[in-house]
């Protein structure tokens, strides 16, 4: 499943840093992330972190999908030999 960046919004200065909200869509699952920098980042810095976070989610999603496939294959194999 491809993880897509759905919405980048909510740029807000907070007492604890500068915050940007990002919603990622992975199939029907929404991952809500709040990215925070010590000070206001440049647009390029925001783009970079938004994308690297998306890639992390993609890697995790791929790994979980692979694990599901492997588990299904193992179950099928065990059933076949039993």
């Amino acid at each position: 499943m491809s993880v897509a960046t759905q919405l980048v919004w909510g740029h807000t200065e907070r007492p604890w840093g500068y915050e940007v909200r990002v919603d990622y869509l992975d199939g029907e699952t929404v991952h809500n992330h709040v990215l925070t920098w010590p000070a206001e980042p440049t647009p390029a810095e925001i783009d970079a972190l938004v994308e690297s976070t998306r890639m992390q989610l993609q890697e995790r999603s791929d790994a979980e999908a692979l694990a599901e496939v492997e588990a299904a294959a193992l179950a099928e194999f065990e059933q076949a030999i039993s």
Partner: protein, 696 residues
């Protein structure tokens, strides 16, 4: 079969020691009479086994069976029979030490071996026995395995490690080492994961697919990265050279070892023997049967004083069930020799109080169980449950490769290390865990009322289930910080890098309530399991960060259908100095509402009342209706039955700039508490609501 009784103190192998002048033969029963001390210097390993061996107690001169320097002994008891004592002011004595003098805890020299081999149903009954088994302890208790070593160059500027054509794929687990200092903030013996891999460079993260670690120095000396051992490997590479170390031997019967996989997953161990020992490699009796995480371990299980049990059922090997206050000293090995794989049998030491356990327990269903006040400074490895069921245990040793490490213990004090287990700390009730909990599938599983002041490192779930726990230590490298059944967790320590910090799921699966109180949190916070249909804050679940970001007074609540943040910038003129900024998620609706805030006003008079809060929108094109954004008042409407009625405001927002009054009017039937709640039940992309933080 005969019963052979001691005639005098002396050596087991000497005929004159025994009545009749002949030492015990196979299938004989043995009685060591009060007043006699018998040195076990015989080898009965070829026997089917002796019948019951009795060490008599006495008012002043109890019998003693002992092992000491200069001789080895092998006592084999056949199935169906036990090693026992008899009653007396002073119980019978079972001793292994350097000189055979009771009370001396000097170790039996490694050159000498003391083995007590128990048949399938045999046990040592501690009811009328005093036991002190003192043996040699190896300096190196375990070896660390590795697969490949890569010498790298670190760059603090780029956060990279460089090696030409390193071949490390993303998500590869590695550890780091240096002949000088490591690149900061990397630490030795800590699992990292490769990210951002390229042909000649890569970065490291605290968890698989995590954010690359910001390197602040390049380190000094030769910096190396090493991987784990591939499955089916034998021999395996090890860092420690034990070729010249006493204790590590390939001698049959004294070369038992256990591997413990430090991959962050369900416990994975093997009970093997050492076939060859080289300076940088160990050949095991069988190849490792799974891929081993970097730094996975080979524990030396054998000790030169050994209780070996052939049990194939579950019962106590050293049994104090009828002598709850008896205390023993166990520097020895206690090991089941019948099980393999994930089959374990018997309980190492059961019942009693205040035992000192500084040796090794291995292959057991329960390493230690059902006692109180045990002091465990040794190693519990490759057991189904390491230290299980009891109270007031103090564990400063190491528990590794168990399904449950420190488990079902009340008021325990854990200051040691638990690693490579499915559950590191499991069902600890009211205890204190100041030790290190690392490389377990679940760091703390289903604990309650426990203060964890140590560190939970490298866990799939740092917390799994459990209630009313407090973490003042540090947690890092988790895949999930907690699961849906974790209730009332207070975090005051440091939450480092992890995959998903907040996992909030629905009513049907549990109700996590987590409070971060002045905790150090990662900059970017990921959540999952939220924004699910029909799951809102009516379940009272969520993660609540007080003094968020370590800013005094700041607060941030992660709720199943939105966030509520204290905002000091967008405030109403004439209102409170802060507002509640409400950011709904896509599930926010009538069936998945956000309970923004709740006030209770005491002793509200029984007369007409009106209360108001002010709200303001941001980003809305279609305004929330009166049933989607409102304040409600719940008041006593019948002074006799205490029946309560809830009324709600009817006003609505009409723009994104005006602070709009939402008012509710009611008349209590009696002066009583009134509860006010503000609800948001609508989502629109990039829209928010601000609630003036005071009731008017």
């Amino acid at each position: 079969m005969a019963t052979i009784t001691s005639n005098a103190s002396g050596s087991w192998s000497v005929g004159a020691t025994w009545v009749g002048g002949v030492k015990p033969a196979d299938n004989d029963a043995v009685v060591i009479a009060a007043g006699h001390s018998v040195l076990m210097d015989d080898d009965t390993s070829a026997f089917t086994g002796l019948q019951t061996v009795t060490i008599q107690g006495h008012a002043t001169t109890p019998a003693m069976l002992y092992f000491k320097d200069g001789t080895s002994g092998y006592l084999k008891i056949r199935t169906g029979y036990n090693l026992i004592g008899t009653s007396g002011t002073l119980p019978g004595r079972l001793l292994a030490n350097s000189d055979g003098v009771w009370g001396n805890t000097g170790s039996l020299a490694f050159a000498n071996k003391a083995v007590i081999y128990l048949g399938a149903t045999s046990r040592i009954v501690g009811t009328y026995l005093s036991i002190e088994l003192c043996c040699y302890q190896p300096t190196t208790k375990y070896l660390r395995m590795y697969g490949a070593r890569h010498t790298v160059t670190a760059s603090a500027a780029n956060d990279t490690l460089t090696k030409t054509a390193h071949g490390l794929a993303n998500a590869t687990a590695v550890m780091v080492m240096s002949s000088g200092t490591l690149p900061a903030p990397l630490e030795a013996d800590t699992t990292y994961y490769v990210v951002s891999t390229a042909t000649d460079t890569f970065k490291l993260a605290h968890y698989s697919s995590g954010t690359a670690i910001d390197l602040t120095s390049a380190g000094t000396g030769t910096v190396e990265v090493y991987t784990g051992v591939a499955t089916s490997t034998n021999p395996v590479n090890v860092f420690e050279d034990v070729t010249a170390e006493t204790g590590w031997t390939t001698t049959a019967g004294h070369n038992a070892a256990a591997t413990v996989n430090l991959a962050t997953s369900a416990y994975d161990q093997q009970r093997l023997t050492l076939s060859t020992i080289a300076a940088s490699a160990i050949t095991l009796s069988a190849a490792v049967d799974s891929a081993q995480g970097p730094g996975s371990r080979i524990y030396l299980v054998s000790r030169n004083v050994s209780i070996q049990s052939a049990a194939v059922t579950n019962f106590a090997i050293v049994d104090y069930s009828l002598a709850q206050t008896n205390t023993g000293v166990f520097q020895c090995e206690i090991r089941n020799v019948s099980g393999s794989g994930t089959t374990f049998y018997a309980y190492g030491i059961s019942n009693g109080a205040g035992h000192t356990v500084s040796g090794v327990l291995c292959g057991l269903t329960y390493g230690l169980t059902a006692g109180s006040g045990f002091a465990v400074t040794g190693v519990v490895v490759a057991c189904a449950n390491g230290v299980y069921n009891g109270d007031s245990y103090s564990v400063s040793g190491e528990i590794a490769g168990c399904s449950s490490g420190f488990s079902v213990v009340s008021n325990g004090n854990f200051s040691g290390t638990v690693l490579g287990c499915s559950s590191g700390i499991n069902v600890l009730v009211g205890g204190v865990a100041s030790g290190v909990i690392r490389n377990n599938q679940y760091g703390a599983n289903n604990c309650s009322g426990t203060l964890i002041s140590g560190d939970i490192l490298r866990s799939d779930y740092a917390f799994f289930s459990g209630a009313d726990n407090e973490l003042s230590g540090s947690v890092e490298g988790f895949n999930f910080l907690y699961n849906q059944s974790t209730v009332n967790l207070l975090v005051t320590g440091r939450v480092g890098s992890g995959n998903v910090m907040v996992l909030a799921v629905g009513l049907s699966s549990g109700a996590p309530r987590i409070v971060f109180r002045g905790a150090e949190l990662p900059a970017s916070i990921g959540t999952t399991g939220r924004a699910a249909a029909n799951i809102g804050s009516q379940s009272r679940q969520g993660a609540f960060s007080e003094d968020h970001g370590r800013v005094l007074g700041a607060s941030y609540a992660y709720l199943p259908s939105g966030d509520v943040i204290k905002n000091t910038s967008t405030v109403r003129s004439g209102g409170a100095s802060s507002s509640l900024e409400v950011v709904p998620l896509s599930n926010c609706s009538v069936t998945a509402p956000i309970l923004v805030c709740e006030w209770t006003e005491v002793a509200v008079p029984a007369s007409s009342q009106t209360r108001t809060v002010y709200v303001r929108g941001e980003g809305w094109a279609t305004w929330p209706t009166a049933s989607e954004l409102y304040i409600e008042a719940e008041y006593v409407s019948n002074a006799t039955t205490f029946a309560r009625t809830t009324v709600a405001s009817t006003q609505v927002l009409t723009d994104n700039t005006t602070w709009t009054a939402l008012s509710v009017s009611f008349t209590p039937a009696a002066a009583a508490h009134v509860r006010y709640r503000v609800w948001l039940k609508k989502y629109a992309a990039a829209c928010k609501v601000y609630i003036d933080n005071q009731l008017n």
